[in-house]
Subunit: 466 residues, 2 copies
């Protein structure tokens, strides 16, 4: 991907001002800049002109005023784990690395919430919450920053029970393009007091403002956790069992599909001996009696769909081994074809269409001659492909691009979305019109223009560059 | 409340066009217009100049184009059950009564969703869902239209388990001020594809567009439902028991506080013999074994806080009788002081501050000499006052207004909100700046101005009129 937008030189006056104000928290070295742009897929690395690391909301305000004066793009950066080029700087500009703003400001255990800075990562937060008996459930796999998770509207394996970032952000503080500081509300669990700005900023990928403080919902660490795996004769049987599980109100915490190729990859990478057929990985949260009942009821449902034995355990070490294998699918997939490049992509459809979508996609993978194991958050109708290919091979990039177009067309034709949780970034801008239509996209563009008339906030993400 | 904004005569040409196009679905009679404005509290009735009843999205588009040509305000109307003057027409204009758009378009049982028109009411929807084994849980008390519930971001007694409208709207279709039709997404359970326009329109009170189609999340009707009541020695003890219940992860479906005065009113109105002390009403959803376990665990928690016996039942008729009393608190409250006017208002605070807020409010009620029983959705930190007073008595309006100011100031000082579920309408516009601050309010105004530059969509609601 190359940008055709104008890229102006970084103003010398701004560089001097930032240098003086931020000292060694302002960097212009090439490698540092490269690491502050996209590094995780075949989307090209488009580094910013400079990187600054603020320590406070007030420093962010000053940075925004300075960039605004000099008409310089601002790209907020969390942990750099996003997958669609969200942190690239196609017009150059200043990367605002929030990594040093990583204070856990307050934990309100009685209210099941906490107030944190955006650079706090998911694992760091949970390590610090442990003594409170609470945890933050959203788990996108990578140890992402919470600011980044807010901005991409992240979710992950246990969204089926705990929701996505949309459901777990109580309120936000953000700095807008004009340098004003907004707070979207207090700590009340619900409010009907005006426009839902917290939800507008959640998933806005930094294009409307820079998140500087986050109030998050927390949950009690379950008394008991049980997990297990269950093989199915087909992807369809596994999806049908998942549908009935959800419909029956079973409060499953995780229900993940791996197709046969993904199981094979996991066996090889994680030294497991699972039967190489479609598999559901499950986790149940509750009381000791509760998780046992949930596991029993799931086993009965699975049996109706021809599943093999449902093996489950409440022992932490056995559970962890299984879920580690699930979390390592990215590396397991790469192990299938060492030396090739990989793309991780996701789509999401209504759960009733999931089996159709996965089966048609598997057929397309076979017909196209690609290596692409599938893993899905089936309780949400969301699935991922790890797509391995050789970008140097003649025609390969075009073949992959055409396959991705078909995948997204298929999901949209089933009333789904081009991304359930990875976000639009740069990689999926081209699908926005097809998904939303011209009028809805114009509504998004109106909002963007009203709040950032000069297009300085993370340009080229979600909406095309002017 | 009186409006100082200009009120232009309704254009004769528009009247003729609407008359011709809509026949007897276009009305200008005084009584019909009065019924299509605010009727439920002391907020004055400000009728529109005319009322039209569209049958389809395309008719709404035509109406919006016509009003726009003639620069005439548009006020969407559902069932007229809102409490803060949302349906008043302070600048005159056309009421768009969505009541005839009441089709249930599709129920997707496997996906636990349905697609409906906005005039469908909550009870009508649930009656029509019964055979599917599904239900729509949000219950604000009144038989509101779903379009109105979307627009006020309604919730109610079982939001503690099922969330609010924010959590249960999957996507929306809406007609914007320029007549364009937007769709905020498909039917996927989650999406990261751009700005969350569904959440922006939910709670926008018709000020950004007119909702013409709603895709809602549904839930399985629980296998078993149990309910009961539990008396406490004090409001604080009841709130503390509620906090521990929520913290322990007990998936209570409803947990409602009634203060002693409210219990007295309910006893009188519903012919019950509850002890006249603070009381929690509870409901549990789950399997037979599950609800029994939940009730047992709640009983243990309640006992730690000095509660009297927790009496519960899974028998539908006994449960219904109790919950009918809860739903009839509005009438029970009016029965406390026949002939007086009443205001129903709500605030919401973090649950840890709920007892403080309720106790301070009770003291203020006593000091001010008002009659105002309290009922609260304590799982959410949300409580209501039914405030009885005589608007004809000298100084009474000022006394009530000052009391309401103190109530909201108190909630805001505890990191709460001026409304948990009733919305802003006209009644709480004056508190928006205090709650959100100038910068956040300016952000809301920017969005409003970008999408409705001439301020024709439900003027005077949420934001002050220009």
């Amino acid at each position: 991907m190359t940008s055709t937008a104008p890229r102006h030189p970084f103003p010398e006056a701004l560089r001097a001002q930032l240098q003086q104000r931020f000292g060694n928290r302002f960097q212009v070295g090439a490698e540092f800049r490269r690491q502050h742009a996209h590094t995780l897929s075949v989307i090209s690395n488009q580094p910013p002109d400079a990187v600054v690391q603020p320590l406070s909301r007030d420093e962010v305000v000053d940075i925004v005023h300075l960039c605004s004066e000099h008409d310089v793009p601002m790209i907020p950066f969390g942990a750099g784990t996003s997958l669609e080029g969200h942190v690239n700087a196609p017009r150059g500009g200043l990367c605002i690395d929030m990594g040093l703003m990583r204070r856990i400001i307050t934990v309100h255990a009685e209210d099941l919430d906490c107030v944190i800075e955006p650079g706090v990562t998911r694992k760091f937060l949970n390590e610090n919450l442990r003594d409170s008996g609470l945890f933050f459930p959203i788990d996108p796999g990578a140890d992402a920053s919470l600011g980044g998770m807010v901005s991409t509207r992240a979710s992950g394996t246990n969204a089926v029970r705990y929701g996505t970032m949309r459901d777990n952000v109580i309120s936000l503080e953000a700095v807008l393009a004009d340098g004003s500081v907004v707070r979207t509300g207090g700590r009340a669990r619900k409010s009907s007091a005006g426009y839902d700005l917290a939800r507008l900023l959640t998933g806005a990928e930094g294009t409307l403002g820079i998140v500087t403080e986050i109030t998050l919902r927390l949950h009690g660490i379950p008394e008991a956790i049980a997990g297990g795996i269950c093989p199915f004769p087909s992807v369809r049987a596994a999806c049908d069992a998942a549908i009935v599980t959800i419909q029956s109100g079973l409060p499953v915490a995780r229900i993940e599909l791996l197709d046969a190729l993904q199981v094979k990859a996991c066996n090889a990478y994680s030294r497991l001996t699972m039967p190489e057929q479609p598999m559901l990985f499950l986790e149940f949260h509750g009381s000791d009696a509760g998780v046992a009942e949930q596991a029993r009821r799931f086993g009965e449902i699975a049996a109706e769909f021809g599943a093999g034995a449902f093996q489950w355990t409440a022992k932490p070490e056995e559970r962890s081994k299984l879920w580690q294998a699930r979390h390592d699918v990215y590396w397991a997939t790469r192990g299938l074809a060492p030396g090739l490049s990989s793309i991780s992509t996701d789509v999401c459809v209504p759960i009733s269409r999931l089996a159709d979508c996965v089966e048609a996609t598997q057929a397309d993978i076979a017909a196209t001659g690609l290596i692409a194991p599938i893993v899905g958050h089936v309780g949400d109708g969301n699935f991922h492909l790890g797509l391995m290919f050789d970008p140097e091979k003649a025609g390969e990039n075009e073949r992959v691009a055409a396959f991705l177009d078909r995948l997204i067309e298929r999901a949209l034709s089933m009333e789904g979305t081009c991304t359930g949780e990875h976000g639009i970034g740069q990689g999926k801008v081209k699908y926005m019109k097809r998904e939303h239509g011209a009028a809805t996209l114009a509504m998004m563009a109106s909002i963007k223009h009203a709040l950032d008339p000069r297009g300085l906030m993370n340009p080229g993400k979600i909406l095309p560059m002017d």
